[in-house]
């Protein structure tokens, strides 16, 4: 087996047994990047020298017997997470030259654990998009089929993991941006409960919805990453002071005896691709064979989730993105007449079309005379969606559904039609509105050879339950072992 194909778990075993060094592992992943990156285009910034220095430090730590499960493990980071002294663009021209003066909380934790940071991964600009096509820099391709999108907005992270260009990655999820690309690229991705992982140093898109989470080749690898990045941080006022269990034990019986809710509105949705439908039927059989009891449940306000989300998220974004004025950081437009003109030129040139569209949509929905009709109404509907989940979890332990209605679509297929693009988030964004965790685990391949993901959602802080269930599902199937040919 190639070193770059190792899981984090297996690489750790080889590292602590001295069968491979962190430097050799990092070199192998860098060589893999050199070989396939020209076709995939997942990285926006690559730091081979820094990575090898970190790997050398990891080897010293391994030799001293002070290794953590992430010591010497080469990782990629979505370019929306601030990395001190390493450029952080958010996929935007406006931040082309931005080098954060501080480290995000998750980066402090990864570095303290001895992880090797390879570089920064492509994304839709400011995490707004479902295909990574909104990056100002490059189109990232799906490693399974280069004409297809990798999903988004954490498309670079998913593609890099699937292509062996890192052993694991961090993404961020505001409406499905970890789970949907994980599903499209055949990797595992977890959106934690809102407040589980500190958002300190995560560039804000929609603050009440954003959450950082792990993406990796296996469920256990995701658990190892979650162990390291979770926990209370007083610098994020929404960080929840709740103890972090050891997720990587994957304790419990998985699906055995679990009551699994099948939301009618998801499984009977119009526009559900036949291959996805078939993969879901097979997945339901698998969890029943694993000892789960399945029950049909209803999330009656699902039909309104896309509309509510695409009001709330742009409203929050229009406020968050007001900070990009060309004063303290970013690319300032030079040929301006006065300060308001400087703001306008900086923002008009710096932001791409989708970001501008959402800023205008959010500004409109918050403006005098429209606030109640849009933001107020959407926030009330959000309460009903929260209540839908609360009721569902009275009769079941977890919810099982597709991650996305279709496998990865073709590059360019939806770029002219923002509303159709928004609809592709229909199964994922409710979890963000309700703040609950969700995991995507590979559950099949389409007839066209593209991965399909299974979503498991649970109540707040049920990550241990989701991971154990996903782990048992993974062990029962071999989809996570399949790799794209590159």
């Amino acid at each position: 087996m190639n070193l770059y194909d190792l899981t984090i778990e297996d690489a750790h075993q080889q590292l602590i047994r001295g069968e491979v060094s962190a430097v050799a592992l990092t070199r192998a992943v860098l060589a893999r990047i050199e070989a396939v990156e020209p076709r995939i285009q997942a990285y926006l910034t690559l730091d081979p020298e820094g990575a090898l220095e970190q790997a050398a430090a990891a080897d010293r730590r391994l030799a001293a017997g002070e290794a953590t499960p992430l010591t010497g493990i080469p990782l990629g980071i979505k370019d929306v997470i601030c990395t001190r002294d390493m450029r952080t663009t958010c996929g935007s021209r406006l931040l082309e030259n931005f080098v954060p003066p501080y480290e995000a909380a998750v980066m402090e934790r990864l570095k303290a654990a001895g992880a090797v940071i390879l570089g920064k991964l492509n994304m839709d600009e400011f995490a707004m998009g479902s295909s990574t096509e909104n990056s100002a820099y490059q189109i990232t391709r799906n490693p399974w089929h280069l004409d297809h999108i990798p999903g988004g907005s954490s498309g670079g992270s998913a593609a890099a993991v699937a292509a062996g260009m890192c052993l694991g990655a961090l993404g961020s999820d505001t409406g499905g941006s970890i789970r949907q690309p994980a599903s499209h690229c055949g990797v595992v991705g977890l959106k934690p409960t809102y407040g589980r992982v500190s958002r300190y140093g995560l560039v804000a898109f929609a603050s009440s919805l954003d959450q950082i989470g792990p993406m990796a080749k296996s469920v256990r690898d995701c658990a190892l990453l979650l162990n390291t990045i979770s926990g209370h941080d007083e610098r994020d006022s929404t960080s929840v002071p709740q103890p972090v269990p050891d997720y990587a034990t994957l304790a419990g019986n998985g699906f055995q005896g679990l009551r699994v809710g099948l939301p009618r509105e998801y499984h009977q949705a119009e526009g559900l691709d036949p291959d996805v439908r078939q993969a879901m039927a097979a997945a339901i059989d698998t969890v029943r064979n694993l000892g789960a009891e399945t029950v049909e449940v209803s999330l009656p306000h699902t039909a309104y989730a896309v509309a509510a989300y695409y009001i709330i998220a742009p409203c929050e974004a229009s406020s968050n993105l007001a900070r990009y004025d060309g004063v303290r950081f970013g690319v300032r437009s030079q040929d301006h007449a006065d300060m308001p003109d400087m703001f306008r030129r900086t923002r008009t040139r710096g932001f791409g079309a989708e970001v501008q569209r959402r800023i205008i949509l959010g500004t409109y929905a918050l403006s005098a005379g429209y606030y109640d009709a849009y933001y107020g109404k959407a926030s009330q509907v959000r309460s009903l969606i929260v209540d839908d989940f609360r009721r569902a979890f009275e009769t079941c332990d977890v919810l099982l559904s597709p991650v996305a209605p279709t496998p990865a679509f073709k590059i360019g297929e939806k770029t002219d039609d923002p509303l159709t693009m928004y609809m592709s988030d229909v199964f994922t964004l409710s979890a963000n509105l309700a703040g609950i965790p969700g995991i995507s685990v590979p559950c099949g391949l389409s007839s066209g050879g593209l991965p399909i993901g299974l979503q498991i959602m649970g109540p707040h802080f049920s990550e241990d339950r989701l991971l154990a269930a996903a782990f048992h599902f993974e062990q029962q199937t071999d989809f996570h072992r399949q790799k794209p040919e590159l």
């Binding site: 009440s208 039909a303 896309v306 303290r328 008009t348 403006s367 923002p418 509303l419």
Partner: protein, 95 residues
């Protein structure tokens, strides 16, 4: 409700965006489609429903009012498009 090109121009101005006419046309058309879709929310009876701003309820955390280390000035200024030794520089605001 439908949004006109002039409304889009006005709202873009509020957000400090200055869109050329052809972009305004496309944007107005797309936003109109999106806002029409948002009308589906009006089918939901939300009479008496309290709005949700955050899904995980938290109280505002407080800490002791004491001095703590903060980003030093040079680090804070390092990304400035224009600066002097101690502050950010912007175009003259008052004549």
């Amino acid at each position: 409700m439908s949004i006109t090109r002039e409304e889009v121009r006005h709202v873009a101005g509020l957000a400090r965006l200055d869109l050329p006419d052809d972009v305004l046309d496309t944007m107005a058309q797309q936003l109109d489609g999106i806002l029409n879709y948002m009308e589906t929310l009006n089918r939901v009876d939300t009479e008496g429903i309290a709005p949700t701003a955050h899904a995980v309820s938290l109280t505002t955390p407080l800490r002791q009012d004491e001095r703590r280390p903060h980003l030093d000035r040079e680090a804070a200024l390092a990304n400035a498009p224009e600066r002097d030794e101690e502050t950010f520089l912007v175009p003259r605001v008052i004549g």
